[in-house]
């Protein structure tokens, strides 16, 4: 799921710190905005926009962090609104709903662990590419040269 890859150049200390912060940002935002699935996306989006003109390594990791949050947003939003409809409308709790919440929790937890691991590794200047998001980031994020 997670691949350690050789980046096109060796990132500097400052670059590694900023890139690592992009993941850290989503972790903190998850804790802050726990019930609302949108908060962590907004946090990573702000960080991404702030680092648009940064070096390739920083941009690359900001993009990967943002993309991973986007898909989580889809899964969590669906679960969030399903829960709201159970509380406020005639919708009732079913096995299907509980199964969805557990599936969403598994995916969120996997992403959470992967994010912590990546934050640490990227801080050390090690380039980490995630399954799917890594290749997608490669398509979106181009070098300046």
């Amino acid at each position: 799921m997670i691949h350690i890859k050789q980046f096109s150049y060796k990132p500097g200390e400052h670059e590694a710190e900023t890139a690592s912060s992009s993941y850290l940002m989503s972790l903190i935002a998850i804790i802050v905005g726990m019930p609302l699935p949108i908060v962590n996306l907004i946090a990573t989006l702000i960080f991404y926009l702030g680092n648009r003109k940064s070096t390739y390594f920083v941009r690359w990791h900001c993009t990967q962090a943002l993309l991973s949050q986007l898909s989580m947003l889809l899964i969590n939003s669906f679960g969030f609104w399903w829960t709201i409809s159970i509380i406020f409308t005639d919708e009732t709790i079913t096995s299907k709903y509980i199964a969805y919440i557990i599936a969403a929790l598994i995916f969120n937890l996997t992403e959470f662990i992967a994010t912590i691991y990546t934050t640490i590794q990227v801080r050390k200047g090690i380039h980490i590419e995630w399954w799917f998001y890594g290749s997608l980031t490669n398509l979106i994020c181009k070098t300046n040269s």
Binding site: I75, I93, S95, F132
Partner: protein
């Protein structure tokens, strides 16, 4: 590009596969989530019907039973509703009222039949109540107003007879949420049109009763518990407009008249 697409597709599939695999487990049992089962509904239906059976007189006259049954069966047949699910009871009571109980019990007061100018009016009210049953409004209302725990305690016998009596009375004398009432009205018009019955008299019935509300207010349970009758009549007419022009009554005029005469004496 192809690689990303493939990986994305696998990720989505993986999520749905996880979800699907997890749905195979009965989480409701594991987490002991209380839910309304068919058995709960069946038991509640019996309990509430008992209350009315003991307090009111059920009309068993063959002509009355057959005529009402004829209308209900025709509506069910035309709308592919399982007739055996419905249990119709006509009670000897002057109030203009009809209501649904859990498990398909439909109670009609003789006052409603006597105060209907024609069979289409009666059919309209019956359709409205069948719609409540078919759309599961009765159980939804009970869960919302009484709470699941109390309902389940009723079926296990740990709840007092007074609570059951009060709940049964509540079902007979209070309306559903505005949105549920509208949903049942619209469904009733569909049922009527499918059964080749004119929905207009149903709207007229609401109009008529809302106008005379003050004079005979105490007998108008059905109408006084269903607010905004005029507004309802208006959207029923609006919805039923241009649906069909050829309508055919279920009962012959003689049968309808005989039904009213039988109930009168």
């Amino acid at each position: 590009m192809k690689k990303s697409f493939l990986q994305g597709l696998i990720t989505i599939l993986l999520f749905f596969a996880t979800w699907y695999a997890l749905t195979q487990i009965n989480w409701m049992n594991i987490f002991k989530v209380q839910q309304v089962t068919d058995k709960t509904e069946q038991k509640l239906g019996e309990l509430f019907w008992e209350v009315f059976k003991n307090s009111e007189k059920e009309i068993k006259n063959t002509h009355v039973v057959n005529s009402v049954d004829c209308v209900v069966t025709h509506i069910c047949k035309s709308n592919k509703i399982d007739r055996s699910k419905l249990k119709i009871h006509v009670l000897d009571k002057g109030d203009i009222n009809a209501f649904a109980l859990p498990n398909g019990h439909l109670i009609i007061f003789s006052g409603l039949i006597l105060n209907s100018d024609n069979q289409e009016e009666l059919a309209g009210v019956i359709c409205h109540e069948i719609a409540h049953i078919e759309l599961n409004h009765v159980m939804k209302k009970l869960v919302k107003e009484i709470g699941l725990s109390v309902l389940i305690s009723m079926t296990t016998g740990s709840s007092g007879a007074e609570v059951i009596k009060e709940t049964a009375k509540m079902l007979s004398s209070s309306a559903f949420d505005r949105s549920l009432e509208k949903e049942a009205d619209i469904k009733a018009v569909d049922y009527l049109v499918n059964a080749n019955l004119n929905p207009e008299p149903f709207a007229d019935f609401l109009y008529k009763l809302s106008e005379t509300e003050h004079e005979v207010a105490k007998y108008l349970t059905w109408i006084s518990t269903h607010p905004d009758s005029k507004e309802r009549a208006e959207y029923i007419i609006e919805y039923g407009k241009g649906k069909k022009t050829q309508y055919k009554p279920v009962l012959s005029i003689d049968t309808w008249d005989k039904l009213k005469t039988t109930l009168k004496y």
